[in-house]
């Protein structure tokens, strides 16, 4: 072998080794990232480690997205209803005052354990049957105005651990003021726990498995991470469908929204075999969808963008939806009856 050939091969080998070494270092750094990684909302420290589902929405990005402006006529009714609920409950203007929202749902057995174990009291049954959810709303709020709004509606402002809290006596829902820019809304038990202190119990950052998915999803406009059984219950998947899905432990979905939507759904199966089975199931559905969708040109681009990937126990499905496709999917715009004007503090 000539020295020219030897140097060429050596250079190629060094380039490859440097690339692999750099990639390995990036991988190890990614694995060892602790605390709150960049891009992950700090409110995650209020989420318990055993949360069944965690949801994040960058409300400001959503509200200012081209997509929302384009789809406004079609989604106006549902959007108005949600905004009205927030306004009625706490006088918060979702569109103007909220930056982002982090919400979580506890598994029902955790709520059960937290309640009285001796005899199934009414409270225990209520806790088990009612979704145990909490929403952390970060934004720019006028606390005095919101408290006045609650008093005007007949509510009472109490103090819990130095924070103001208002509990709705009938529904057991509450709103608490963690910081001037951070509200907690949800079940009174969970609101009180959040007001006690962040990180008092084991928070989500100690759950490496879920945090890996959260880190992956961070930076997206909307994401949801959770245990598959909780997510499938939330989606109300029929038993016949969820029974056909190979064993999946964790699932995450993330979407970046602006002109269109780029979404990624990731599932962590119980083992590599289950993951391969799931890939085959998804592959089959995707192929069928493509054959069916070919008849409808508005879905053609979205179907072509579908990419199935993942290694080991991970299965990942990515796709992109254009504004045109979303318009085709959105419900038709019907003329709505005029809604009552939003309540305002007196």
């Amino acid at each position: 072998m000539t020295s020219k050939s030897r140097y060429f091969l050596l250079t190629s080998a060094v380039v490859l080794a440097v690339g692999l070494g750099g990639g390995l270092m990036a991988y190890l750094a990614y694995q060892r990232t602790s605390g709150i990684p960049a891009g992950v909302p700090e409110e995650i420290t209020y989420v318990p480690a055993n949360a069944a589902v965690v949801v994040y929405a960058n409300v400001r990005a959503l509200m200012s997205s081209d997509l929302r402006r384009e789809l406004m006529p079609a989604i106006e009714h549902g959007s108005r209803k949600g905004r009205q609920m927030m306004n009625d409950f706490a006088g918060i203007d979702l569109e103007k005052q909220v930056d982002h929202v982090v919400a979580y749902m506890e598994p029902s057995n955790a709520a059960d354990a937290a309640a009285d174990k001796a005899t199934p009291s009414l409270e225990t049954l209520h806790n088990v049957l009612t979704p145990q959810a909490l929403m952390l709303v970060q934004g720019t709020f006028d606390q005095a105005r919101i408290e006045q709004f609650i008093r005007d509606k007949g509510g009472v402002i109490d103090t819990h651990n130095g924070h103001h809290i208002s509990v709705h006596q009938d529904t057991e829902h509450a709103i608490g003021f963690l910081r001037p820019d951070l509200l907690v809304v949800g079940r009174a038990r969970l609101v009180r726990r959040a007001l006690d202190a962040p990180g008092q119990a084991q928070d989500l950052t100690t759950n490496d498995e879920v945090m890996r998915l959260v880190r992956d999803a961070s930076g997206s406009t909307v994401w949801v991470v959770g245990h598959f059984d909780a997510v499938s219950r939330g989606l109300k998947l029929p038993g016949s469908v969820s029974g056909q899905v190979p064993p999946v432990r964790l699932v995450s979905a993330r979407a970046t929204i602006n002109g269109g939507v780029t979404a990624t759904i990731r599932a962590e199966a119980s083992d590599a075999t289950a993951a391969e089975q799931l890939r085959e199931v998804v592959r089959g559905f995707v192929a069928l969808a493509r054959l069916q969708g070919g008849k409808q040109p508005q879905f053609d681009a979205a179907l072509k963008s579908i990419a199935l990937s993942g290694t080991g126990k991970t299965v990942q499905l990515s796709f992109a939806i254009s504004p045109e496709t979303l318009r085709a999917l959105a419900p038709p715009h019907h003329s709505l009856p005029p809604s009552p004007p939003p309540s305002t503090p007196q």
Binding site: M1, T2, K4, S5, L9, S12, A13, V15, L16, G19, L20, G22, G23, L24, A26, Y27, L28, A29, Y30, Q31, R215, D216, G219, S220, T256, N258, G259, G260, V261, T262, T264, E276, R279, E280, R283, G284, V286, A287, L288, R290, L291, G294, A301, A302, K304, S305, I306, A307, L308, S309, G310, T311, G312, S318, A320, I321, S322, P323, E324, T325
Partner: protein
């Protein structure tokens, strides 16, 4: 003079052949083939650095991981690996025949089979050390686009590199056999890659099991990009084998093809044009 062992003879042929392969006219083709994906990656990265959206599907940005997956499938797995295998694998013996230099090798006191094995090893070193750095460079340039993480996707890169390395091993062995058997091996090789393999993968049934692509593509962590109806049909009828059975099949194909190639070279009388 003591006759060298098969391994020693193969290594000597390998040592001579590496330089011949690297600095032949085919190197230009190889440089273009593996340079094109890197050039595409540089262009995409430049567009990204200039603040422009890299790739959009009707308005929605596509992530770097997805772009890299498409590049891996469409350029490397479906084109670069089989085509480099065909160009270099089929030339292992035919170049010596065409250049009338085969006599110099066959008159040496080395087993004839060691000639093709040594040349095959030289092919592997040359192609692997050119293709794999190219994939790595494309990965580092493309993956960070659209919020992708180099660290998170690193296991996928390792799998991709492994698949391409195995692909070059298997295709090289098959084309080495074709080169040892057929008078015009390059035409036969290209027909195999772009004719037989493409048709067999589309036909439902057992035919696909007689292709390298069937086993190789089933190892890919990324899903096959399906940008036309044919690809959708292929995916619909596909019954991908498990990773273990694919690896065993590819190892079997490689060993059988190499053994047959060495046996053919040992027994065949090559007639050199005067």
């Amino acid at each position: 003079m003591k006759r060298p062992s098969f391994a020693t003879a193969a290594f000597r042929v390998f040592d001579i052949s590496v330089g011949q392969m690297l600095w032949s006219r085919r190197t230009v083709f190889m440089a273009l083939t593996v340079g094109a994906p890197v050039a595409i990656a540089i262009v995409l990265r430049t567009i990204h650095e200039m603040g422009m959206p890299v790739l959009r599907v009707n308005g929605a940005p596509v992530s770097g991981e997805v772009i890299f997956g498409g590049l891996f499938w469409l350029l490397y797995l479906r084109f670069v690996v089989p085509v480099l295998g065909a160009f270099y694998g089929t030339s292992l013996m035919s170049d010596e025949v065409e250049d009338r230099t085969l006599t110099y090798l066959f008159t040496r006191p080395v087993p004839r089979g060691a000639v093709i094995i040594g040349k095959y090893l030289a092919y592997l070193v040359c192609t692997e050390l050119v293709v794999l750095p190219s994939v790595t460079a494309a990965y580092f340039l493309i993956t960070p686009l659209g919020g992708g993480s180099i660290g998170a996707a690193f296991p996928v890169l390792l799998t991709d590199l492994g698949i391409l390395a195995i692909g070059l091993v298997a295709y090289g062995a098959v084309f080495a056999l074709i080169g040892a058997l057929v008078p015009r091996p390059l035409v036969a090789g290209l027909l195999l890659v772009f004719g037989w393999e493409q048709i067999a993968l589309l036909v439902p049934g057992y035919l696909r099991r007689f292709t390298v692509a069937h086993y190789l593509q089933s190892l890919a962590p990324q899903a096959m990009p399906q940008n036309d109806t044919m690809a959708a049909i292929q995916s619909l009828f596909a019954e991908p084998p498990s990773a273990a059975s694919s690896l065993i099949s590819l190892a079997g194909i490689t060993l059988v093809a190499l053994w047959l190639a060495a046996r053919t070279v040992e027994r065949r009388d090559y007639v050199l044009d005067q």
